[in-house]
Amino acid sequence: MLSLSDIRLTFNPGTATEVRALRNVSMQINEGEFVTVIGSNGAGKSTLLSTVVGTVKPDEGSVKLDGLDVTDWPAAKRARYVGRVFQEPRLGTCSSLSIEENLALAAARGKKRGLGLALGKKDQKAMFAEHLEKLGLGLENRMGTPIGALSGGQRQAVSLLMATLLPMKILVLDEHTAALDPSAAHKVLTLSAEIAQERKLTTLMVTHSMRDALAYGSRTLMMNAGQIVLDIKGEERSRLKVSDLLERFGRAAGTEIDDDQLVLA
C-alpha cells in the first residue's frame, strides 16, 4: 500500500546547519498493516511522516501510495488518500468552529467544495451523531459546541474520527497522544487500535513510547540518524519486551548500520 524507495532528504544542504534527515530510507507497508515507528529525537521519524503526508518533498527517491506515485503531490492533493492525526490537539482541529463544522470539513476532504451549505447535507448530521456516539464521550449531544471548549483528549478523539471519516489509503498518527495526560492517551490509543482493526486500515503510527510501540500494531520500525535500523514483526516482535528493545536501540544508535544488516537477535 505504501512504498518508500531510496528516500534522501537533507535540510539546509551545504551550510553550517546542514542536517541529513533521511538517508536512503526504503520500506514497504502492506494493506491492513499497523506499523509503529520509534526513535530518539532527530532520528527522522517526523521527517519520514512528512514525506508520506506530503508537507515535505524528498531530494531523491519516491513515495508510492497503492501504486500511485505521489512524490510530487502537495499535501493538500494527497489529503484525499491520507488521514492524519496531529500531535497537538490544537493543530488538528479549528478551535472556533463547532464539532459539526470540523467534521464537515473532514467529510469534504478530497471532494470538490462548492457553494452548497457545509452543514446542509441531508443525512450528514445523523451520520456524524452516529460516529460520535461510538466514541462514548457524549459529544453527539454537543455538536454545535466550538471545539475549542473540549479537552485535549476529546479533541484528539474527534480528530481521529475526522481522519477516518472517509475511506482512505493510509492513516497516519503523528505522536497523537504525546500531548495528552495518561488516561486520555490510553483512551485515544485504544480507540485508534479499535478503529484501525474494525476497518482494516493501513496505519502508520509514530510514537515516543516504546511500550506503546510494542503494545499496538503488528510491526515496529526503529529509526536512528535518518535510517531505519530495525524492522520487527510477527512472532519475534510479540516476544520482545521493552528492555529488549532498549538494548537493541542502544546497539543500533552506537554503530553505523548497513542497510542489509537488520539483525534480529
Partner: protein
Amino acid sequence: MTLFALAGAFETGLLFALVALSIFMSFRVLDFPDLTVDGSFPLGAAVSAAAIVGGFDPFIATFFGMLAGAAAGFVTGLLNVRFGIMNLLAGILSMVALFSVNLRIMGRPNLPVYGQDTVFSRFESVVDAGLWSNTILLLIIAIGAKLIVDWFLKTEIGLGLRASGENPAMAEAQGIRNGAMTLLGMSIANALCALAGSLFAQMQGVADVTMGVGTIVTGLAALIIGEAILGRRTVFLATLGCVIGAVVYRLFIALALSAGFIGIRPQDLNLITAVVVAVAVVLSQRRGKRGRKQLFNFKLVRGAQQNDEGQD
C-alpha cells in the same frame, strides 16, 4: 446635532460597514493583515466614476468597480502566495501601485460624477424619502452584503476559507488548498471595499485619488468597536458587529463634531479614533466566559477566561 448631520452619520456609517466587512474577511477570517484597502477603496471609486462618465449605467459601473477591487485583492494575494512576499508588505505594495493606477483610470487627480446618473439618483427616483433616501439604499446594501457574507462562510468553500485562515496546517490535511483560499478571500474582501469606494464617490459627487487615505483605520475602528459590543462568537454576530460598529463610530464622530464642546475640531478626529479604538480593545478583553460581555466591569478578575484554548 442637526437631522442633517444625523442622516450623514448613518449614510457614512452604513457605507463604511462594507469596509468593516472587508477588513473582517481579510484580518479575521483569513488572518491576512491587508493594507490594499487604502488603494482598493479609491479604485472602486475611480473605475465607477470613469464608467459613469463614460456613459455606463450606474449599477453596471458599480459592478465594474467591484470587479476591479477583486482584481486588486487577487494581485495582493498572488504576491503573497505565488511570490512569497509577506502579507503586510504585499498589501502595501498593491496600495502604493494603485495610486498610479487610479490616476491613469481617471486621467486626472479627481473625476466628478456630479450631475450624472448614480445608483443614488436612480434609487431616489423610485423611493423618495428626502433626507433619508441614501440611508435607506445604503441600509439595503449593507445588510445585503452582511447576509451574503454570512451565507458564504457557511458554504463548503466558505468553511474551507475559515479553516484556511485559522489553521492552515489542518486545512491542508483536509485537502484545502491554502493558496487558492487566500486568493479567493482577498478578492472578495477587496471587492467589498471597492464597492464602498464606488458608492462613496457616487454619493459625494466626485472620485478623488487621495480618498483612500485612512480607509484601513476607519475599517479597523468599526470592526473593533463592533467586536467590543457584540463579540465574535458566531459569524452572524461578527458581521452584525461590522455594521453596527461602523454606524456607532460615525455617530460618535458626528456627535463630537457638532457638540463643539471641549473644542473638538475635525482635525482631532485621528486622535479621537485612536482613543476610541484603544478603549474598545481594552473593554473587549474584559470578557466573561463564553464571550458574554461585561462592559464597564472595572473589577477586573484576571483569569476570568477559564474555558481552555480557543476563546479569545
